[in-house]
């Protein structure tokens, strides 16, 4: 994913979606926990109430069963079931809605009720609270203590329906929130990236002929300012490089135009009227001399181009400086004669140095050219 806006969008919406899911799960779990706790609290209340109704002279017939025995407890949705056991597991009583089936026997410790999930005989899911009650028949010794276990179960289908509704509600709220978050993210990202788009448009508008333009940093966010500054510096360097290239191209064009003009002029004049072969020969010789100088110039330019593009490869050999300068002067002799400039090579005949012959020739040529430009005729 290369787009910054796509990355930001994916990051923001992904993070938000993840947070929303975690938050939804926590809410769902919290509400489920609280509802079940409230559900269990009701069951515990019922089981405590049933336990409180067991007299010391208890008989099976006197045991109260839900839902009939709920006159003192608020009625709630969901079917209730109850069952009593003695210590040895003998069923003392059970509510009629259990039919031939029964509830699992369990209880809490120390006379406290305990709640747990179970599956009713008809396959429905339910919550149940179990509690053990100690009973002493009248006149009985402590050793004759009887324990009765009471389990009250309540069908949880209503609870589950409520939880399902709640989850759909959470899902819908999450979807709406997510949609809103996506829209807000898009708006925020667009707004935040607008300076970048403006900068990109400003960069796109910069062409070869408008390198003096700079990217305005006025509305750019602080984090992007260093990038814009570096870009502007780069533009400055590019502008300089283009200017140097234009200047070099103009210089090269100038250096080449004059000899080409010379060749054209020589050929034009030679062909202007019939003339003796010697004059044609002279013209051709002049053209050849110019072409040779141009070839040398082009080779120098190619050398410069190579020096620009790769590390120079010098071939160091012993060079007699006086001879090297004399050789260089040959190319300038005619021009110097035309300007009545004299040349005197003052280098000692035996002065040598170890250098690259071509590089030295180029240096001498530049020096001689500059000196000739400044020299006054003798």
């Amino acid at each position: 994913m290369k787009s910054l806006s796509a990355r930001l969008f994916a990051g923001m919406t992904g993070s938000f979606a993840l947070l929303l899911i975690v938050f939804g799960l926590i809410i769902d779990a919290s509400i489920e926990f609280m509802l079940i706790r409230e559900f269990d609290f009701y069951l515990e209340t019922v089981v405590r109430s049933l336990a409180g109704g067991i007299g010391s002279d208890w008989r099976s017939a006197s045991l109260r069963l839900v839902p009939e025995a709920l006159s003192d407890i608020p009625r709630v949705e969901g079917e209730l079931f109850s069952q009593y056991w003695t210590d040895d597991g003998t069923v003392l009583a059970k509510s009629a809605n259990l039919g031939n089936a029964g509830l699992p026997r369990f209880h809490g410790k120390d006379g406290r009720p305990q709640a747990q999930s179970l599956v009713l005989p008809d396959g429905r899911r339910a919550r149940a609270a179990g509690m053990q009650v100690s009973i002493w028949p009248p006149g009985a010794v402590p050793e004759s203590e009887k324990r009765v276990t009471i389990v009250v179960a309540r069908d949880t289908s209503d609870l589950e329906a409520h939880l399902r509704q709640l989850r759909w509600l959470l899902l819908a709220a999450g979807a709406v929130t997510m949609t809103a978050a996506v829209m807000v993210s898009i708006a925020v990202i667009r707004g935040s990236l607008k300076p970048l788009r403006c900068a990109a448009e400003a960069i796109a508008a910069i062409k070869e002929d408008s390198l003096s333009a700079r990217i305005p940093a006025a509305d750019i966010p602080e984090e992007i300012v260093p990038v814009v500054d570096r870009l502007n510096e780069l533009l400055g360097r590019l502008e300089d490089a283009f200017a140097r290239e234009r200047s070099l191209t103009a210089d090269i064009a100038h250096e080449l135009r004059t000899p080409v003009a010379g060749m054209l002029s020589i050929a034009g004049v030679a062909l202007n009227s019939p003339r003796p072969p010697a004059e044609y020969r002279e013209a051709l010789e002049d053209v050849r001399q110019i072409a040779r100088r141009m070839r040398s110039m082009i080779e120098d330019l190619l050398t410069l181009a190579r020096l620009d593009s790769e590390a120079p490869k010098y071939k160091f050999v012993p060079v007699v400086l006086r001879e090297a300068l004399d050789l260089c002067w040959k190319d300038f002799r005619e021009k110097a004669d035309a300007r009545r400039l004299t040349f005197e090579n003052g280098i000692q005949a035996d002065t040598r140095c170890v250098t690259d012959r071509n590089a030295l020739a180029m240096i001498f040529a530049i020096l001689v050219q500059d000196l000739m430009a400044e020299a006054a005729p003798t």
Partner: protein, 225 residues
């Protein structure tokens, strides 16, 4: 017509000068700016062909100083500088025309001739003087329907007199406009060429087309024969 060629590239200087001379111009040449200024101020050139990049005094400075000295000589700039700013600078400095290198010699010649016509207030390259018709572009001369043949120097002399038809032209004028520094400086060289011209253009038994005004010069009357 006399032209000063200022160009520091010897092969170009040599070939252009040769071409101009073969076209009948008296051409003085130099590759030095200072020397060119000295020539231009000291001689009545009809046209100066001026390179801009010269050693010493550059072409534009030379032109400025020439105009500052009140010289109205037509100047054709020849240069490798082809930018609009360079052309504008050259023309604003007082040049009459601007030719970018490389150029064909024929174009240079045509522009020099156009400047010459401007010097003598003529639009057409064909001069009609008396019975003569002179094509200054092709360097051809007709008397009525018959084409006459001239040497380059004879043609240059005839063209100069024809350009100034109706005016008295002194020997000094002829010398200054038709001969360059390399010409042999004999006292009667103008008279010799006038005699050659008369032989070629005059009709037998008729008064000469080129009239001698004793002690003052020569005159071609601009009246049909």
């Amino acid at each position: 017509m006399r032209v000063l060629l200022v160009e520091d590239y010897p092969p170009l200087m040599k070939s252009v000068a040769r071409g101009l001379r073969e076209a009948g111009f008296a051409a003085d040449v130099t590759g030095e700016g200072e020397e060119a200024l000295w020539y231009a101020l000291g001689n009545p050139y009809d046209v100066i062909v001026l390179d801009l990049m010269l050693p010493g005094l550059d072409g534009l400075s030379l032109l400025h100083r020439l105009r500052a000295a009140g010289r109205q000589t037509h100047v054709l700039i020849i240069t490798a500088k082809d930018a609009v700013a360079d052309r504008v600078a050259g023309l604003n400095a007082g040049a009459d025309d601007y030719l970018v290198k490389p150029f064909e010699f024929e174009e240079l010649l045509a522009r020099v001739q156009a400047l010459l016509r401007r010097s003598y207030i003529r639009k057409s390259p064909v001069l009609a003087v008396g019975p003569l018709r002179i094509d200054t572009a092709a360097h051809r001369v007709w008397r009525q329907e018959k084409e006459l043949q001239f040497t380059a120097r004879e043609y240059a002399l005839l063209e100069y007199l024809a350009m100034r038809a109706g005016e008295l032209v002194s020997r000094t004028d002829i010398w200054e406009h038709v001969y360059d520094f390399n010409s042999e400086a004999t006292s009667n060289v103008v008279d010799v060429y006038i005699t050659h011209l008369r032989k070629k253009i005059d009709s037998p038994g008729q008064p000469s087309f080129i009239e001698t005004v004793r002690g003052r010069g020569y005159l071609i009357r601009n009246t049909p024969e």
